[in-house]
Amino acid sequence: MISSAIYAPQRSGSVSVFSDYCWRNPRMFLFLLLLPPVLWLGIIYLGSLFSLLLQSFYSIDEFTGLIKHEFTLKTYRELLHPANLDIVVRTVSMAIIVTIAAAIIAFPIAYYAARYARGKWKVFFYLGVMLPLWSSYLVKIYAWKLILAKEGILNWFLAKLHLTWLLESVLSIPIIGGNSLSVSYIGTCLVFLYVWLPFMILPLQAALERVPVKLLEASSDLGSKSQQTFRHVLLPLAMPGLIAGSIFTFSLTLGDYIIPQIIGSSRLFIGQAVYSHQGIAGNIPLAAAFSIVPIIIMAFYLWMAKRQGAFDVL
């Protein structure tokens, strides 16, 4: 009789019984928690990825336009055709430039937010970084087209400053130049940079926030000037954030097909190639082969980053 007073009375009702059961069987609870995401990731996500991979090993019959369901590397050979390889090189170069530029611009912003911004300034920082993500992607891109166009505000502003010559000399550079910013690779790059910048700032800021100020002081105490502290302490410790951010900017640029269509020269990027091959041309195997390219590049990039010790501090 005494012991019965120690415990609350046994609860009834299916929810209580279930929660008691979960408490007694933590492994079962974990299994139940993980089941939906594993099903989602495993079947729907990875499954579709594999079927894509499979598609790339089929080929299209040039005469009938039908897909031949037998294994061949013909589609990959087609991918290596100069015109297609050109698309890959163009896209990858753009992704590299956008990523490097985003890292350079994002670092000071993220550093300021992590080290100095407090209270309402921190809120202001998050709003400032995230606000562009709240408005429509298409609207932003068309807005940029207007800004960069020949009759656009940027040209008007530069004309007021008597700097039109500067813009013209930049635009006269072969390959990256063009008639106006909105039809040049420079414009494409600027818009990519604008659209993906938050994806670089946020992981970088999270990584920098985790670097204790004490470590920077210790570095300075041991004789490092600011640039040495940056190189030997801050940068290696921020590397996981930088890698995470670069995965976003790099892969988003690799896969995007709207920005290069609206802004830039009319030459194709991987995303556009995939879009046109699977839609208009009905060449799903080639579209699939094209979309394997970013996957391989990203896998290679991560492997390199790991080999360089970028994740050692995790």
Partner: protein
């Protein structure tokens, strides 16, 4: 004797908080100097002023006779052992210890040799390849010391270096640090809130409270002749009683500090006191007794017959042992 660090009227204010308030200090070369005080008393800020992480709001700091204001930390011949060690997590122990040498551009072989020597001094030779995360708290502490001394500074600053260690390890490290200071012969400036640590290690102690230095002196000075009630209470424990009660009848208006171990249990010719409570501490036993309505703490040897609670005993002390305190806090 050369003066290694000198403060004159140094203040450091954060808005209207006076973290350091008109501090005067003069620390000799080769001295083991402790800054003792409760948290928020300004001792760590003083250390940071010496390291160069903070600049004084007013006043003047000299390190080896040279003005320190405006000199960045990386140009000072001063190294710090940080409170939570601040080891670089992305480097192994050897690279951590050799960091300062690497920054100075010393070639890898020589740097590693020096770092290994510093590790030897803290008895960690052979640990160079490990990561800081693979070490125990005591080992990390040693690495932090090795990293600081590898730079061969003329002043070593230690910010509560033993705070995170357990008691046994702390005592061992106290001895080792003391020994290391003797071997190196450089100035050690040690910040601690642990009075026992300060008493056992330092040549001189500065007791801080509310941003001010209350008293500077040798451990013996501080313990036996505390100038104020704060020092008497903070360094060791003390009975603060009226002077005439303690037997100094000519100084009625003043308070004195009477250390618990100065009060003896006697067989005759003593004051009558009732034992209120006892706490057994192994070798000694602390008694709380009451005499004429005044509660006193005293310490007796545990191997004598211990009195029971409520028992009447006779106590006595030499009025010479009572130390007159100044009237300010």
């Amino acid at each position: 004797m050369t003066i290694s660090v000198a403060f004159s009227k140094v203040c450091r204010y954060y808005d209207d908080i006076k973290a350091v308030d008109k501090v005067d200090l003069s620390i000799e070369e080769g001295e083991f100097f402790a800054m003792l005080g409760p948290s928020g008393s300004g001792k760590t800020t003083c250390l940071r002023l010496i390291a160069g992480f903070e600049q004084p709001t007013s006043g003047h700091i000299e390190i080896f006779g040279e003005t320190a204001e405006g000199v960045p930390p990386y140009q000072r011949d001063v190294n710090t052992v940080f409170q939570d060690y601040a080891l670089f997590p992305h480097m192994n122990v050897l690279d951590n210890v050799g960091f300062g040498l690497m920054i100075r551009g010393i070639p890898k072989d020589e740097r590693n040799h020096e770092a290994e020597k510093a590790l030897q001094m803290v008895r960690l030779s052979g640990y160079g390849a490990r990561r800081p995360s693979e070490l125990s708290g005591g080992q990390r502490q040693r690495v932090a010391v090795a990293r600081a001394i590898a730079n061969k500074p003329r002043v070593l600053l230690l910010d509560e270096p033993l705070g995170a260690l357990d008691l046994k390890l702390r005592e061992q490290m106290q001895d080792e640090l003391k020994e290391l200071q003797k071997t190196l012969g450089i100035t050690f400036i040690f910040v601690t809130h642990d009075q026992g640590e300060a008493l056992s290690m330092a040549d001189r102690i500065a007791v801080f409270n509310n941003g001010k230095i209350i008293q500077i002196g040798t451990p013996k000075d501080i313990y036996q002749r505390p100038e104020t009630q704060f020092v008497a209470n903070f360094v060791g424990s003390s009975n603060i009683v009226a002077a005439d009660f303690a037997g100094l009848s000519d100084r009625k208006d003043r308070l004195v500090s009477l250390r618990p171990e100065s009060i003896k249990q006697v067989d005759s010719n003593g004051r009558e006191a009732i034992v209120i409570s006892r706490s057994y501490m192994g070798g000694s036993t602390r008694l709380n007794v009451e005499n004429n309505g005044v509660r006193l703490n005293m310490v007796i040897q545990s191997n004598t017959g211990l009195p029971q609670d409520g028992e009447k005993i006779l106590i006595s002390w030499d009025p010479e042992q009572a130390h007159l305190l100044s009237n300010d806090q």
